[in-house]
Symmetry: none
Subunit: 225 residues, 2 copies
């Protein structure tokens, strides 16, 4: 969090901490660059107006050292400013005045996007195994108790998603968001039933007992062994 005005900086930091994030605060350009190098943040909130050198310069320097998503905060809402901001590697921007809620929402969206990209980019050599079910994201092949099983693309993604958090219950909405690409869109009533269909197909292929239904909540992949 880089913002020279103490009040705003503290307020935002506190709110974000309340949301469960860990926040490092900086109040001018130079110390921001230094802090970014030291703590290696997952995301940077950056005010455009700063003492020392301005936010755009900070953005450029931070990005030079290590690519990192940047959310720009700006008082001037003219397009030029926005474009320049994006030009130096900012991923999103907010014009003052903005509400707390808005900031939290943007940060959350940004992190989710980055997280997804990282998961995609970062080759996972690890084939995931949960109670006899083995998934290889690389080759997209599946075995159950050693025997090869053919899964359709959606089935594979769905099972993979469940397998990443064994035993944990995932809601249909969450699955729609992760497996399908429902960003922030609200799930339509009928779409959630699509999940059911694929779960049914999965059960017939990997064994019905492996996927647990939690009434009113969602599904979970059991370790089963």
């Amino acid at each position: 969090m880089v913002e020279d005005e103490r009040t705003i900086n503290d307020a935002l930091a506190q709110r974000l901490r309340a949301e469960g994030y860990t926040v490092e605060q900086a109040f001018d350009g130079p110390s921001a660059v230094e802090a970014a190098a030291a703590v290696r943040p997952d995301v940077v909130l950056l005010d455009v107006m700063l003492p020392g050198f301005d936010g755009l310069e900070v953005c450029r320097r931070i990005q030079a050292a290590r690519p990192v998503p940047v959310l720009m905060l700006t008082a001037r809402d003219d397009e030029a400013d926005v474009l320049v901001g994006l030009g130096v590697g900012a991923d999103d921007y907010l014009t003052k005045p903005f509400s707390m809620r808005e900031v939290v929402a943007r940060v959350s969206a940004l992190l989710r996007r980055v997280e997804r990209a990282a998961a995609l980019a970062e080759e996972r050599p690890a084939t995931i195994e949960v109670g006899g079910v083995r998934l290889d994201p690389g080759s997209r092949r599946t075995t159950v108790d050693g025997e090869a099983v053919h899964l359709t693309p959606t089935e594979f993604d769905l099972l993979l998603c469940l397998a990443r958090t064994p035993g944990q219950v995932l809601s249909r909405e969450r699955l729609l968001r992760e497996v399908w690409d429902w960003g922030d869109a609200w799930a339509s009533a009928s779409a959630t039933r699509t999940v059911d269909s694929h779960v049914k197909a999965l059960r017939s292929k990997v064994g019905a007992a492996r996927i647990r239904t939690v009434h009113g909540v969602g599904y979970a992949l059991e370790e089963l062994r």
Copy 2:
């Protein structure tokens, strides 16, 4: 609870106490700051108009000492006021006139949010255990003295709610608000009997002795061991 008008302060305090909260009252800015430092509250209700120095200043000083969620009470409902309020670190606000239930609902929501965030930050999606009863919110599974027990969704949420404050008595109204989503609907008196039904079901599943009835008040989960 910081509010200079005695009548309002007392009324709100009384209502919140009826809900099971512990309330410390202050009637001006300086004593509010002092009290906040002394009792370390979980949440602060703060009137904007105060003798001494105003609510915003109080908010800033309290926050400076220790981050704490603040619910602002204000007579002026213009946006600027709201934004400034948020700027100093208030987490929510209410404009007068407001109803009792509204205040209670907001306080409850605020506490729930903070509690959840704290649990998240403390990297504890942990399974909570109270006297042999173990609850895992992630997998939504329950064991009693090591043995798996199936709970329905409402039963699980209800037990979880009780387990978060072991030994503490929670009113039916409070439970309805937290487990069910009674934001402001304050309708049928018979709905409170619904709680009874689920408590009965819970007792038969986790052992009758574990849930204590406090006549005229509510229920509590005993540690029992």
